[in-house]
């Protein structure tokens, strides 16, 4: 759709408020033969029930659940259809209804969106949203081929069988159009992998340098290996409730807003269109892009799906000003450094064409105006695909609740996963705890959700 009609732009509304009260996760590993998938899901589920300071006993909390939404990216990886049924039974939730949600890399985000609507509509008062991926049954190159079947099998898959090869052309075009140096992308890899050093859940923490990233092995030029996320195994979950149930369970539940957007599976099919403006943007501000650059929108440089999701989510959540001022944390989908960089413009952390300033200004860093991916992101911590958009939500929840240290700084959390808490461990707890945003993203921007958590207590002050 390149021209909207009024009905297309109706801002989504929940029929009643939706809250997130608890989160759970496993750690993430490239291979995890120690546990079966459902055993990993139980691990995350128990963390959700037992370690979120809920006011009822774990089994009493479980007794409130009346719906489950499950996210798994690809049946190929485990060669197990209806894994939802296995997990649901294993968690002891039969015969409650459950539904499986599949939207590629945005599976976790869309599972959360569906769960939120279950609560908002009144179908459920308490919904378990859980996602997982087990990508270690096949070797990495086979895994890459499986993922590349999420490109168009007739016209794209055979041209690489590797997803980095669908992002690399966007990276090249982005740099060409906006004159962005490679160091900016490399800085994103350094930042996110660095923040992963504070996470006991992280798969690929590392203290790298920009020079090291750029000198590293190339996957698909210009993307280096260190700019790409890895195959990952793990599970994550959230508990969504209506207002009454939320406050019965928690003193600090976070209000949830979430909207989605989509765009073509093939970048090839993106047609030129007018830019949908975010609430703080002004008509005419992007005229230069077509007039001076002659560059189509969204072209290869931006994600219309992310722009559309943010367009709706900001309006749904009442965010009218510069998102860097209204948000205290963002967790973005850095499957590749370039997808992270492109998204800065889509969600208005900077205007289109000035995305790199979000990094170079320092805003994106801990202590900056609106830090991003303090969880370590997909590059540093995890991309067990179906779990990703849920794990990001859990990290946002814990940050707003002031529980970053509880979940990341407790030495027992590190030993639980066979690790030792680093001596130079750094707390990344954000000081202001008003709102956090996370982006869940699929394909080359085929499906995106923009979730916003709002802290009712802090917002009152």
């Amino acid at each position: 759709m390149i021209k909207f009609q009024p009905g297309n732009l109706r801002v989504p509304q929940f029929q009643r408020p939706v809250y997130v009260v608890a989160g759970g996760t496993t750690d993430y590993r490239k291979r995890y033969p120690e546990y079966k998938l459902e055993e990993l899901c139980m691990m995350a589920f128990k963390m959700l029930l037992e370690e979120n300071d809920l006011k009822l006993d774990p089994l009493e909390v479980k007794g409130l659940i009346n719906m489950a939404c499950y996210g798994e990216f690809a049946d190929h990886f485990q060669d197990q259809l209806l894994c939802e049924a296995k997990v649901h039974d294993y968690l002891g939730l039969d015969p409650l209804p459950n539904v499986g949600i599949k939207t590629g890399g945005a599976t976790g985000g869309y599972a959360t969106l569906v769960g939120a609507n279950m609560v908002a509509s009144g179908y459920a008062n308490c919904v378990l949203v859980m996602g997982w991926e087990r990508m270690d049954e096949v070797d990495t190159r086979t895994g890459n081929f499986y993922i590349a079947t999420a490109a168009c099998k007739d016209f794209e898959t055979r041209l690489a069988r590797m997803y980095a090869a669908y992002y690399a052309p966007m990276a090249r075009r982005f740099a060409h159009v906006f004159k962005v140096k490679e160091e900016v992308r490399a800085a994103i890899a350094v930042k996110n992998r660095g923040y992963a050093c504070s996470s006991p859940f992280a798969q690929q923490p590392g203290k790298h340098t920009v020079e090291e990233v750029l000198a590293g092995r190339i996957a698909c030029d210009p993307l280096r290996m260190l700019e790409c996320c890895a195959m990952s195994v793990g599970a994550a979950c959230l508990l969504l409730c209506d207002e009454e149930t939320a406050y019965k369970l928690s003193d600090n539940p976070m209000r949830l807003y979430i909207c989605g957007g989509t765009h073509t599976l093939r970048v090839a099919d993106r047609r030129n269109m007018a830019i949908p403006l975010l609430p703080h943007e002004t008509p005419g501000m992007y005229d230069w892009m077509e007039k001076e650059l002659g560059e189509p929108y969204p072209g290869f440089q931006s994600f219309l799906a992310s722009r559309f999701a943010a367009y709706m989510a900001y309006r749904m959540a009442g965010i009218k000003n510069d998102p860097c001022d209204e948000l205290d944390l963002v967790e973005l989908h850095d499957a590749f450094t370039i997808s992270d960089l492109q998204t800065y413009g889509d969600i208005g952390l900077r205007p289109y064409g000035r995305e790199e300033e979000y990094i170079t200004s320092g805003d994106a860093y801990y202590g900056g105006r609106c830090p991003s991916n303090l969880s370590g992101g997909l590059l540093g911590t995890m991309h067990a695909v179906g779990a990703t958009g849920i794990f990001q939500g859990a990290e946002c929840l814990w940050q707003l609740q002031g529980k970053y240290d509880k979940f990341h700084g407790d030495p027992k959390m590190w030993t639980r996963f066979g690790k030792t808490k680093p001596q130079d461990w750094q707390s990344l707890q954000i000081p202001k705890r008003r709102r956090a945003l996370w982006i869940s993203h699929a394909g080359v921007g085929s499906h995106v959700t923009c979730g916003i958590l709002e802290n009712p207590e802090v917002m009152k002050k």
């Binding site: 168009c152 794209e156 970048v267």
Partner: protein
Amino acid sequence: MKKVKKKTVKARKPAPKKAKPRSQAPAEIRFTGTPMPVEQTEPAMVIQWPRTLVHHHTYGLLSPFFEGLKQGVLRATRCPTPGCEKGLWLPPRADCPDCHSRMEWVELANPVIGEVFTFTHVEYPGYGIELSYPYYQIDVKIPGCCTIMKGYLVRGEAKIGMKVRACFRTKKPTNTILDLYWEPAE
């Protein structure tokens, strides 16, 4: 596949005239597969689980496009509705996403010259890659198209803005999109 067919034929043979009495105990059931190799036993048992498959994939209404590649022609589609998208679609699609009309085929005159919009040098492809690598994967802007089609460069070095000519694997076609490739036209 042959084995499966044989089994099916056997099953369809008419029952012998003198049917065996039902009460007779069946022959002992045999394991007819191949044992799965154990890869590791600690900390948990991990076995190999091989999978080989054939899918029967249709090109549907886009069949003329893939037939065209074998004949050395590039076929695009166009919406016939006045006022709708004027550009050609490549990759083609049979139905217009804007007005839902059935599209019509347009054969592009050879030589088809396009321009490299962006590209990547694929150094690490995934399992099953059918091209020798590294190679340049290119996104080609073709005059008259509203789309920017992906392909690969058969020789030379890719640059943004370079002119490329469409080529076709008419001898020994692969019957896939790899039958279309591009060569420098400068």
